[in-house]
């Protein structure tokens, strides 16, 4: 490992401040249900609606005030942090995973590198016909399935008997065009507009909202990893892996992908910040989330009902601001660390050499 990176990495007080804040958010979010909060979330205190923070001796004081529905702001803040852990963080992880896989595969195999058995063609056509409920969907899907089955049997049988015309024909999968096309299509619409369009209507469950956030977030990661993969796949260590006869899946998974994903260390915190901002915007607009779901954005949105309630801005606004700034600081530091060319090259060649040695043995 590069010695300069971690030193610079560790030296910044801003960085440690950011890490400490994120640790606090994570800690509060994880321990939320067990913290000794005076009031549970999403429970109105009808005797104290929209009251400012109170620090009286009462055991049931609203330390951070209440919102216009009488919900305790402190409880909403704590469980809002939990919402980040259960929604934004998994959404970022899944979007990164999906984007990295799709972008990495697209960059590695391109449009002609991956071929599928010919039987997959009619099978996919049958699935599409059936899903889109095109005319005569049932009979058409059955015919296509039969064709798919016949092709499979034919190819399987003649592959055993020896090479024949048509027996070895495969279907090249234009993976690069597919991934780029879908990513471009999703990116053509502003992210907020797309999410609002998808989340409008009845409130979504957490898993549904998670799926929506992943859907809009993966294209950025995919494009980044694809671009990196185009550089990585022509690196000597990858070519050496090809030359050594390693299976292509192994080369992709063990050698190329880890290096193509290096920029994600810096981009993932920014993706997380983006998704937190997006989720908060949705909650602020009252879209997507149930009123029982605690969210900093939702808490901010209640200000519209009580414009003079400053405590509805200070708590969730500060929490949101500090979290976004902390994530940016972490991303900045990680970016500095991983943009070191020496680090990249050294690590890459070290790792590849180790794998190659293992293979040659």
């Amino acid at each position: 490992m590069n010695a300069r990176g971690p030193t610079r990495f560790a030296s910044g007080s801003a960085y440690w401040g950011a890490v400490a804040w994120l640790a606090l958010v994570v800690g509060v979010g994880v321990l939320g249900p067990w913290l000794p909060l005076p009031y549970p979330p999403a429970t109105p205190d009808l005797a104290h609606i929209a009251i400012p923070p109170g620090w009286g001796n009462s055991a049931a004081a609203h330390y951070f005030g209440t919102d216009p529905a009488g919900r305790d702001v402190l409880a909403e803040l704590v469980f809002g942090a939990r919402e980040l852990l259960t929604l934004s963080l998994p959404a970022t992880a899944l979007a990164t995973l999906l984007g990295a896989s799709a972008g990495g595969a697209a960059g590695f195999w391109g449009n002609r590198g991956l071929a599928l058995p010919l039987a997959i063609g009619p099978l996919a056509l049958a699935a599409g016909w059936w899903l889109l409920a095109l005319p005569y969907w049932l009979i058409s899907s059955i015919i296509l399935l039969i064709i798919s089955f016949l092709i499979f049997i034919y190819q399987w049988k003649f592959a055993r008997l020896g090479p024949r015309r048509f027996a070895g024909v495969t279907l090249p999968l234009p993976l690069d065009s597919l991934v780029l096309g879908v990513a471009t299509l999703l990116s053509a619409v502003p992210r907020l507009v797309l999410v609002v369009a998808l989340a409008a209507g009845p409130p979504l469950s957490t898993s549904q909202l998670l799926a929506v956030l992943v859907l809009v977030a993966w294209p950025d990661t995919a494009r980044l990893v694809r671009a990196q993969m185009l550089r990585v796949r022509v690196q000597p260590f990858v070519e050496a892996a090809w030359a050594s006869g390693l299976p292509e899946w192994r080369i992709w998974w063990r050698h190329a992908l880890p290096h193509a994903c290096q920029p994600l260390w810096a981009s993932a915190p920014l993706s997380l910040a983006g998704l937190i901002g997006l989720e908060s915007t949705l909650a602020f607009l009252g879209i997507g989330l149930l009123p029982t779901t605690a969210s900093w954005g939702h808490l901010l949105g209640t200000l519209r009902q009580e414009p003079t309630a400053w405590w509805l801005v200070v708590g969730p606004g500060s929490a949101l601001l500090f979290t976004l700034l902390a994530l940016q600081e972490v991303a900045r530091q990680l970016s500095g660390l991983h943009s070191s060319k020496e680090y990249f090259n050294k690590t890459a060649s070290d790792v590849t050499a180790a794998h190659l040695r293992t293979k040659i043995k």
Binding site: L46, I49, A50, A69, R71, T292, R304, Q305
Partner: protein
């Protein structure tokens, strides 16, 4: 005819006149298209004849408004496949309209029953012109009773079906200009989700009247209704003078405005009791809500007293049923519904529910359900949150489903809900609960699906009873039945609050919708005093 939402009535009443309309100065019904209140004649012991004479009113094309237009409107109301379920049930007591061959402006309504409210209630629907909608007079071959009694399972007669198709194709709900009324205003502009502009007609029959009563006055040359997304936007618009009048102000905004010295200088504030009641309705078609003990138990989980204090800041009042405490027919011998979780648990056990592993179960049923309410109503959300928290405390999981207004109405009509929180509109003129609680209104206005032979008989008797003493007795029985059967839990009666520019006079604030008299609004040189 049917309104997509209740606020559409505010505009419709300015474009289409009824026989009788609310006089906001006196809080009673006054003759509008009718020359006078109808004379009443009881026939036998089960029929009422209401004798109407129409004013010398005309449509925009100069044709007179005649009794045949009234007959056509009533028949159109009962045509199948038109979305008039509520009106159909409400006016089902009018069985026939007898025309006077000698006087085309004179007719008699034959009503089933002998309720004194029929006199005022019978004229409260907008009259539509027959000729533009039915130029061949195809509906005249059917009597009103024939259309009312037409079996639901039978296809409508070809002439009726053709008329319905023409009406639906005209789409007057979205193109009001295709259905001119005899009111003083016409739609000049409609910007979706933003504003509606009504223009005073230059030539209107009411201008010929030497002294127009209040209900026939139309002073503003133009009225613009702004559609504002939430209370905060409306309050801001009012303070920026983009709005001159703001009805149904939320309790907090009203209090905040009143506390502001600047707003107090510029605005006049009006408030008082209304006839709108916030209720929680149970879908009695759901197996879990079919028995009254479960419904009673869940009713005990609404903290109406705290909800009234919290959401309405103490204004408004609690009630035992669907009548406000100010009504002479209010049953004050009944106790107000109390927040009693312990009693809820006892009633659930009595209903056969058992708490097993933290959940309530009865045979194969589990007591877990959702609450639907209008997404843009803070009061309803607070009610739902309070109920959810109270239910969770006794081990009942409740999910909240805030829903957009028109989607919610459709869902309620189709019975796609477990519990709903909504507002029921009332008035002091009529006590007709058939549209909302009679078994024949299930799938139409009776969203709860409630209805037993005994409750149906009681509701029919209330709608038709003539003697005030007997009516009082029946209404008290009705309130008692409502508490016992608990198809819905009445929570509280809402107050009305209205803020208007101080220079705006002849506002006539009222607890009746829309809460003010739009057609009489006038600008005064000097600001109005405090109210």
């Amino acid at each position: 005819m049917a309104q997509v939402n209740s606020r559409a009535v505010d505009v419709i009443n300015l474009m289409h006149y009824s026989l009788l309309q609310t006089d906001f100065a006196t809080g009673t019904m006054a003759p509008t298209l009718a020359a006078a209140l109808p004379s009443v004649q009881f026939v036998g012991d089960s029929l009422t004849h209401l004798d109407y004479h129409l004013r010398d009113a005309t449509w925009d094309n100069g044709r007179p408004v005649l009794a045949t237009d009234v007959a056509f409107t009533l028949k159109l109301m009962h045509c199948p496949e038109l979305p008039n379920e509520g009106e159909r049930t409400h006016f089902s007591f009018i069985r026939e309209l007898l025309l006077d061959p000698a006087d085309p402006r004179h007719f008699t309504l034959v009503c089933r029953g002998q309720a004194p409210e029929y006199r005022l209630d019978s004229g409260d629907f907008p009259i539509l012109p027959e000729n533009p909608l039915d130029p061949t007079h195809s509906l005249r071959q059917f009597s009103l009773a024939t259309l009312q009694d037409w079996p639901r399972s039978t296809a409508p007669a070809p002439a009726v079906a053709a008329l319905v198709q023409r009406y639906q194709q005209a789409d007057p709900g979205h193109h009001p200009e295709r259905l001119a009324g005899c009111g003083p205003y016409q739609l000049a502009a409609w910007e979706g989700n933003h504003s509606l502009t009504l223009q005073r007609k230059k030539k209107w029959w009411g201008d010929r009247l030497p002294t127009a009563p209040l209900v026939l006055q139309a002073r503003p040359k133009q009225l613009q209704f702004l559609i504002l997304p939430d209370d905060a936007a409306a309050t801001l618009a009012l303070r920026r003078h983009e709005l001159d009048l703001y009805p149904q102000v939320s309790a907090r905004d009203f209090q905040r405005l009143q506390a502001s010295a600047t707003a107090h200088r510029e605005l006049a504030f009006y408030s008082g009791p209304s006839y709108d009641i916030v209720i929680a309705g149970f879908n009695t078609r759901r197996p879990a809500f079919q028995d009254k003990l479960t419904r009673q138990a869940l009713s005990c989980l609404f903290d109406a007293k705290s909800l009234l204090a919290g959401t309405q800041l103490g204004q408004g009042s609690r009630t035992v049923g669907l009548l406000p405490p100010t009504s002479p027919f209010y049953n004050d011998s009944l106790p107000l519904p109390a927040y009693a979780p312990a009693r809820a648990v006892a009633l659930l056990r009595q209903a056969g529910w058992q708490q097993i592993g933290g959940t309530w179960k009865r045979a194969a049923q589990q007591l877990a359900f959702s609450v639907r309410y209008r997404a843009d109503e803070t009061t309803f959300e607070t009610v739902a949150l309070q109920f959810r928290a109270a239910a969770a405390a006794v081990g009942i999981p409740v999910a909240l489903r805030p829903t957009e207004a028109s989607t919610l109405t459709e869902a309620l009509r189709q019975g796609d809900f477990d519990v709903c929180v909504r507002k029921l509109k009332g008035n002091p003129f009529a006590f007709n609960f058939l549209p909302i609680l009679h078994s024949q209104s299930v799938g139409e206005g009776n969203f709860t699906g409630f209805g037993t032979p005994a409750s149906d008989r009681l509701l029919e008797a209330i709608a038709a009873v003539g003697q005030p003493g007997r009516k009082r007795l029946l209404l008290k029985q009705f309130q008692m039945m409502l508490q016992k059967e608990a198809p819905l839990a009445p929570l509280f009666v809402l107050p009305y609050r209205l803020a208007a520019d101080r220079h705006l006079v002849q506002v006539y604030p009222s607890g009746l919708r829309p809460g003010y008299s739009a057609a009489t609004l006038t600008w005064a040189a000097t600001p109005s005093p405090d109210h």
